[in-house]
């Protein structure tokens, strides 16, 4: 198993609309630039849980598939925006007893969207 992995995902212009429909989270801060600015955000922002799903996928695409994830915890920080690359870094912290533990984070344009991520996978 690689000690260090890096994957890049790029949300497109419509990602937040697809995710809103799929998840049911229609908070206008994710859909409407004008509304987002009215509540002091730079523009519409990504759903944190979409970004967390990318952190999950960065593990499970490589290690054992979607059901291999036993737990994932993250802290959300900077606001993610559409149409900019997100780099997810995962570092093997320990492995044994049928599981592997990774520390992970997600960075977009120099700002951490997810920090102190901790993923535990069945191996």
């Amino acid at each position: 198993m690689d000690e260090l992995r890096e994957v890049t995902v790029t949300p497109d212009r419509y990602t937040t609309y697809h995710y809103a429909g799929a998840s049911g989270d229609f908070n206008p801060i994710h859909l409407d630039d004008e509304f987002a600015r009215s509540v002091d955000l730079p523009s519409k922002i990504l759903h944190g849980l979409w970004t967390m799903a990318q952190v999950a996928r960065a593990q499970t695409d490589v290690v054992g598939g979607p059901l291999a994830l036993k737990s994932l915890s993250v802290q959300f920080r900077g606001m993610g925006v559409p149409e900019q690359d997100i780099t997810i870094t995962s570092k093997l912290k320990s492995q044994g007893d049928g599981e592997a533990v990774f520390d992970c984070e997600a960075v977009q344009d120099g700002s951490k969207l997810v920090r102190r991520g901790r993923a535990v996978l069945r191996i």
Binding site: H18, A22, S23, D25, G48, L49, Q54, G65, L67, F76
Partner: protein
Amino acid sequence: MSHSDTYLVGREKIREYAASIGEQSPLCHDVAAAREAGYEDVVAPPMFAAVYKWRAMGPAVLDPQIGIDFSRLVHGAQDFTWHLPVVAGDEITTEASFVDEAKRGEIKVYTFSSRSTNQRGELVCEGTWTNFVR
């Protein structure tokens, strides 16, 4: 304060959700592949927990007794622990509870927890939601 609700997991919802996050595993899209792997139907990606839990978590977070301004709410941290797979056709009951409220400088921090069980009463997923209000 706690809220409970039941979410019926649909096959097309799993496919739609999987597509929205870029999940391409055949287990999440292809019924035959899921059955071949021993599941009754397509399998929910783990982060689909955020969707079936929201049915109970939404009302918990938006409870007027707690008084969070939704437009100022930022998701601060999230933690999920998965115990069993969720497949299309499952009925997932989630109980969401307010845990506590704290102040960190100018920001208020509200913590909620959730427990989800399937139609057989088996624990499938637990979660902790931490919300910041700017």
